[in-house]
């Protein structure tokens, strides 16, 4: 649902139901932006929620017909900055302001194809060896740190990191391959 360019410059306020629809469809972009900027910070869910609340408050500022996801990504970036301020700490891990700005702009423009990517991922996961799949999903299942995971299965942290990274790369390639063959026949 990519909004068209407005045919006139008039500012109209958006119907709430339409706004909820936009907000709902924009969730991936919002989460993506927050996470792209927070670099492993556990507070990201909170920021996503704050961003949603802020978008709702500012719904009258949104100009129907403009790119909602780009707008939402920009708001999300400010909420990330706000969060850092509230936490009264400067995140140890953060990009430069310029790069953060760049990321927020680009994430809003990313193709919203998570749905297809998830479907492709599920197919690609089937091609993994059971132990690889288990290792990968263990990483995302719960609160276990890589160190915990490493000691549980008796491998080095570095070794696991490399294995995980390779598995992710393999999955990424598989997903891209599936998506591109899928596109060629549409």
């Amino acid at each position: 649902m990519e909004p068209k360019n407005p045919t006139d410059g008039e500012t109209r306020s958006i119907h709430e139901a339409d706004f909820v629809a936009l907000l709902t469809s924009g969730q991936n972009a919002i989460t993506l932006t927050v996470r792209a900027l927070m670099l492993g910070d556990r507070g990201m869910e909170e920021v996503v929620q704050q961003t949603n609340a802020k978008l709702w408050q500012k719904r009258d500022d949104f100009q129907p017909g403009t790119n909602f996801r780009a707008w939402a990504a920009a708001v999300a970036r400010f909420e990330v900055l706000n969060y850092r301020k509230q936490q009264a700490r400067d995140a140890r891990l953060r990009f430069s302001d310029d790069l953060e700005h760049q990321i927020a702009c680009e994430v809003g423009e990313l193709e919203d194809d998570l749905y297809d990517r998830h479907a492709a991922l599920q197919e690609c996961l089937k091609q993994l060896k059971p132990e690889s799949r288990d290792l990968l999903l263990s990483r995302y299942n719960g609160e276990e740190t890589i160190a915990d995971l490493a000691s549980r299965i008796g491998r080095s942290v570095g070794g696991i990191k490399v294995s995980l990274s390779r598995l992710r790369t393999g999955l990424s390639q598989c997903i891209e391959r599936r998506l591109s063959t899928g596109e060629s026949v549409e």
């Binding site: 993506l32 996470r35 670099l39 408050q57 680009e106 990191k161 490399v162």
Partner: protein, 546 residues
Amino acid sequence: MSGMKQEERLLLIDSLLDGTISDADLLRIEAEMTVDPKVRQTYYRRLQLTMLLERQAAEEGGRDRPVVGKHPRRRSRRMMMIAGTLAAIAAVLLVLFYANPSDPGSGESNVPLAASPERTASGFAILSGQDDAVWGGKPINDGDLLPSGELHLLSGRVQIELFSGVQIVLQGDSSFSIDSPMQVTMLRGIAHASVPEPAEGFRIKTSSGDVVDLGTEFSVDVDDQGADVHVVDGEVQLHPHGSETLQIQAGVSRRLMTSGNAVETLTSMPDTVSPTEFQNQLQKKQHLRLSVWTQSRNQIQSDKRTVAYYPFHSGRTGARQLKNFADGSPLLASDGTIVAASQATDRWGRSEGALDFSRIGSRVRLNVPGEHRGITMFCWVKINSLDRLYNSLFLTDGHDEREPHWQWMEDGRVFFSVKVPETDQAGRDPSETVQPVYYSPKIWNASLSGRWIMLAVTYDVENARVMHFLNGEPISSAPIADKDLVESIQIGAASICNWSEPMYRTDPQFVLRNLNGSMDEFALYSGALSADEILQLYRIGNPNEQ
């Protein structure tokens, strides 16, 4: 991309996402990201992958670990995505609600959405007909949602309707899976597909290539060496695995080889039927079943135990009376009087054969004389939804001593009770004088909505047992405690599919009990029928093949 090697770059990006990157490495990757848009794209893709893996792990986390490798449960993937999306919407709405509790109009209409999660069912297609079908594994009934995963038809023919509108008739020994409303994988067997315009692009995958519809009717015959594709109407696109895509038109056949080529077909088109022809055949069979059922009905009518037997089909428009066809019992119920209910299509497809009770107040009034040592009731119903706390099947006026109540609870359990006389309870602790209710398990789910089903219940005095039946099969059997056994049941004035208030109002909050659905046959027997008899009644009365 230049500078560091790709594998190292990806490792750094992964540690960025983990939050475990060192300051020095952060500077290195940040520098690359700042100057190279491709590195940023890699970062975004990696982040998306992380989010999807988290989602996947969360979905699988609900199952018993370990999930991996053993028997991956074949849950519908798309439903998971939909469930995920619904969860996201609910989350957004909750956020909105809590963030703006006092904001007037800030989605009053949204809050109930968040509060009551939508009911869902899982699947991409339903079974819309079958003819002599034998399934490998659990049988599938007409109207059932087809499970995801590999399905195996051993013999016979079945028709499948995908939610995209695609209709497929499968025949003979076939293995297939329904991957989505727009894609079916054929491992073996013969499929004849009819694809309406909105479903253009529908795809049948085979091990030797894919067949993509361009608005057509076509058949695919898959064996170990390849797949023959025959276009009946319109055109299809073939995607052999090893050679270029080609388009073929009506009347043309090609064979997709496992070697990767598409070649001339040597075999002629298999003897398939189109979905339309198949439906015609099924209709003929159904007419046959209807005539068998009509002829066998006199067994029910003349049974000495049959007190009331109402096949609702009158053949007349606007009829307001339901004739009681029973004639063997010394105690016969009155004819039924239709109140407010409107005529509807019955399970045989006849337009005036059923009554729709969804209008408030709808019911059939009847009077059942005498005392009965146990009872049996059965009916064929088609429920739209159970939208009241109590949804009536058969209730006596009020709920007096020795009277039965048969209804469906909102939560999907069938309720049956016979009120134990107060006199029998004399001397008991008042806290014990609760009326016994014999519930079935929860049998309602959304996939039953709009389908004809047969319900039955027996109150067996000899064996002190209440049994519920669904489609001829017993679904629960509960003993009746000695203190609760009512050896002599009375009915008197009663209603089918609604309830009439008693003279005194003891429970006014339950006044609306009419059933949101239709009924086309109801019978009441004195005494308990055996499970075999109930199964037989179902088999004879079932309009569809099992």
